[in-house]
Every structure is written in C-alpha cells, then in structure tokens.
C-alpha cells in the first residue's frame, strides 16, 4: 500500500494536451491500423485505437496510442510483421476518442446493434446477419455483401476485411452483437 502511494506521488500530472507517457503510431491507411492493433493486442501491449490529432487528419483516419516507453519493442514487432508506421511520435495534444456507446434495439425476432454510424442486425434464433446499415465509406457495401446471410460464427470479421473507420465501427458493432447474443 505504501509503495502504491509512493508511485502515486511520483506520477507526473498529464499535460493539458494529453498523457506524457503515450505515443501514437501513424499508418498509411486504416487497414494497417487494424492489422497493427490486432498484432499488438495479441502481444499483450496495451494499445488503443484513437482519432488522429488535427494536424495530421486527412479524412478517414485512425491512429494507435501506445506506451511510449515500449516504442522500440513495438517498432521491432511491427517490422517483423511487415508493418511500418509512417510516424511513431509522442502525444502532443488531445486525441479524439471513438464513440463507445452502443444502442441496442430489439425487434422481437431480430436484434439490432448500432455503434457510431453503423448498424448490424441479426436473426435472434439463427444468429444469421440479416442487414447492415449506415456508414459512408466505400468498404461498407463491400463488408455488407460479405457478411449478410451468414451466421455470426461463419461471417468473416469486419476487422479482417475492413479498411476504413466505418469498417472499424462495424467491427465494434459485431463484437457487441456477439456479447448480446452470448447472454441470450
């Protein structure tokens, strides 16, 4: 307990812009972000997908927030897996947080989950994905074509096929749907 208090006293307050011990990995496109996130999470690195700071926003972006002290380890791991970030830099300003609220709607025989601007609907009895709605990036119609008509177990994961922020939101809706269906 005493040691805990010691560490608390030693902690430097976060600067107004954001936590001082965090960095961001910037990739050429969202597909690489999704691949890197999967890889780093499997390796046990506490990473978070976030929105980029305003100075590097180009339109449809995600970055990975990581513990800055582990920068070299992460870069080596990424390089071994042929993932090369464009930048790995300290956080200098507040990052945008992804929407983390889910909206669940029960239609009787069907359940709909909304994550940000994406909606996923499943037949509750068969667990077949019957519809995908929302979104504005070009992989949404593609992802919908790949997963509609398949069960949650059979469908390819949006995180494996998606390339954009909308695709990432659909993955979150997919994960939440799995949680919802596992409760029933």
């Amino acid at each position: 307990m005493a040691r805990l208090r010691f560490w608390k006293r030693k902690q430097t307050p976060a600067p107004p812009g954001g936590p001082i011990d965090r960095g961001i990995l910037v990739f050429a496109n969202t597909s690489e972000v999704i691949r890197a996130e999967n890889l780093l999470k499997k390796a046990g690195v506490p990473v978070k997908v976030m929105g980029p700071p305003p100075e590097i926003q180009s339109g449809c972006d995600l970055v990975i927030q990581f513990p800055l002290m582990r920068k070299l380890e992460l870069l080596r791991l990424l390089e071994e897996n042929r993932l090369k970030p464009l930048q790995a830099v300290p956080v200098t300003g507040p990052l945008l947080k992804p929407v983390d609220l889910f909206h669940i709607k029960d239609f009787g025989g069907h359940l709909m989950v909304r994550a940000a601007n994406m909606k996923l609907t499943v037949d509750k009895e068969t667990r077949v994905i019957v519809n995908v709605s929302g979104g504005g990036c070009p992989d949404v119609p593609y992802l919908a074509a790949q997963i509609v008509g398949r069960t949650l177990e059979q469908a390819p994961r949006p995180r494996d096929l998606g390339h954009t922020v909308c695709g990432y939101a659909l993955e979150l809706a997919f994960e939440e749907m799995e949680r919802q269906c596992s409760r029933s």
Partner: protein, 297 residues
Amino acid sequence: MLAVVGTIPEADFPLAAGPVEMGDQGLRLDGRVIEVTRGTAALLAAAGACLETLRQPAPFAFLAGDTGLGHGSERLYEHLAGHLGETAFTAITFHYILPVVDWHQRVFFALEEMRPRPCLIADAGFMYVAKMSGLAPAYDLFTPDAGEMAFLADEEAPHPFYTRGFILHEDSRVPDLIRRAYAHGNAARYLLVKGSVDYLADRSGILATVQEPDVEALEPIGGTGDTLTGIVSALIASGWDIAEAAVLAARINRRAGELARPTPATSVADIIRRIPGALNEIYAPDAGHDFESSLLR
C-alpha cells in the same frame, strides 16, 4: 439531368462515366451489370426508378470500384477534378467515397467553375469530407441520418466515429443538433435528416417533418437512406425546388417501404421495386397533381 457520384464494392470495377440503364437484372453502365444492394447502387436504382416514372432522362453516373482501400475513390476524385465541367447537369449527388480532404478541395474547384451551377447534394463519405473541409455551406442539400446529424453538430469531429459523447444522437434531439450544425457552419443550405421522423430544415429552423407511414422495420434495412437520397435527387433534377422535393421524397420513400411489407431482414431491392407505385400514388394526376405541368415550372 442528374449526375450521381459514388463507388461500387468491387475491386476490379473500372472508372466509368455515362448514363445508367435500368434493367431487371440490375443497373447497366458501359456494358457492366451492377447489382443493386445498398450504397450508391441503391441510390442510383431509386433515382432511376423515379426518373423513369417521371419520363425524365436516366441518371448519369460517375462510378469506380472501391472496397475501402481508396484506390477507386482516388481515380474518381481525379476524374471529377478534370472532367466535371464537360457535361451540364441540373443536380449532382455525391455519395459513397473515401473521405480525403485534399481531393475534395480539387473537386470543389471544378464545381465552382461549372456554369450554370448545378444543385449540389451530398450524403455518406462525400458529406463527411465536405464538412471536414469547412465547405458544408456551399452545398445545397445534405441527407444525414440521426447519427450523421450528431457528427455535423460536433464542430470537432472529423468522422461520425468520433462524435463526442455529450452530443447524443437520439432522434428526439435532432432539432438541437440541426441548430448546432448551422451555428458552427457545418450544414448545407438544406438538411433532410432521415429517421423515425424525417426533418427538413434550413438555417431558420425546421421547415417540415414527415413521420407517416411509420414503419419501424425499415430502420435496420441497409440502403433505405440511400433510396431517400436517390428519390430527392431525382425530384430536384426534374424541376422541383429543394424543399418540396425533400418532403415529397420522404413520403414516397416511406410509402415504398410500407408497400414492401418489410421485416428487419428485407432487402432494399424489394423496396426500390415499390418506388414507382408509391410515387404514382402520392403524386398522381388524379390526386390534383400533374407531372408534366410541374416539370415546366
């Protein structure tokens, strides 16, 4: 004539520009068949169904294949920046595309040079990038859903995925979101907000609402927002003013949905087939309206 700009979810679909033929098997452009699922194909099919019923020219499409990597979107942006001015259009509807601010600016310069200036309508990825570029007020109509309306209302969000939590996208808050979007200069001249209640608004506030028929099962069906954007685009290109077209389109889209007797598993293609019937029913000559006289205004 109406132009529609968007992407098709096939990696090998080439850049194509031309009038779209409507067929039983789907849409045809440059000899290629386009399956009508959701997205820009659904928008085009809905617009085409309206235009055919109104005896107007088929929509002219600028399409490219893109499964999300952005290669097709880039080809499309580049083509538009160089060729938009070559054909006269009454209205241009921009739809599914990878939002890239630099490319949007180049296309916008090309739009600025068009004479006469077409009515500019944006939805989906192109609406995201128009807002992010700070040029939303230069557009005539945006057609967001409630979640996208929250994104327009959040002056800091570059994408709906980052809409801040305190800006809730509940349908009941849509009027507040509309006010906020206009206050920060992030709305088009008109907004048609799609949801359990469809709202038409401009800078002065809510101009109209449409909430009948209320068919709850339409919400999860992918493409029902695309069909509404397609219908309103077709009506505007046919001569209706934006406000009239928006209200009429909302009524037609809802009625087409009702006629399809949908469940949450219904395909949007089933709803698109009902659009001519819904249009004829709501805007029939014997109901006191006349297509021909309206189009001459």
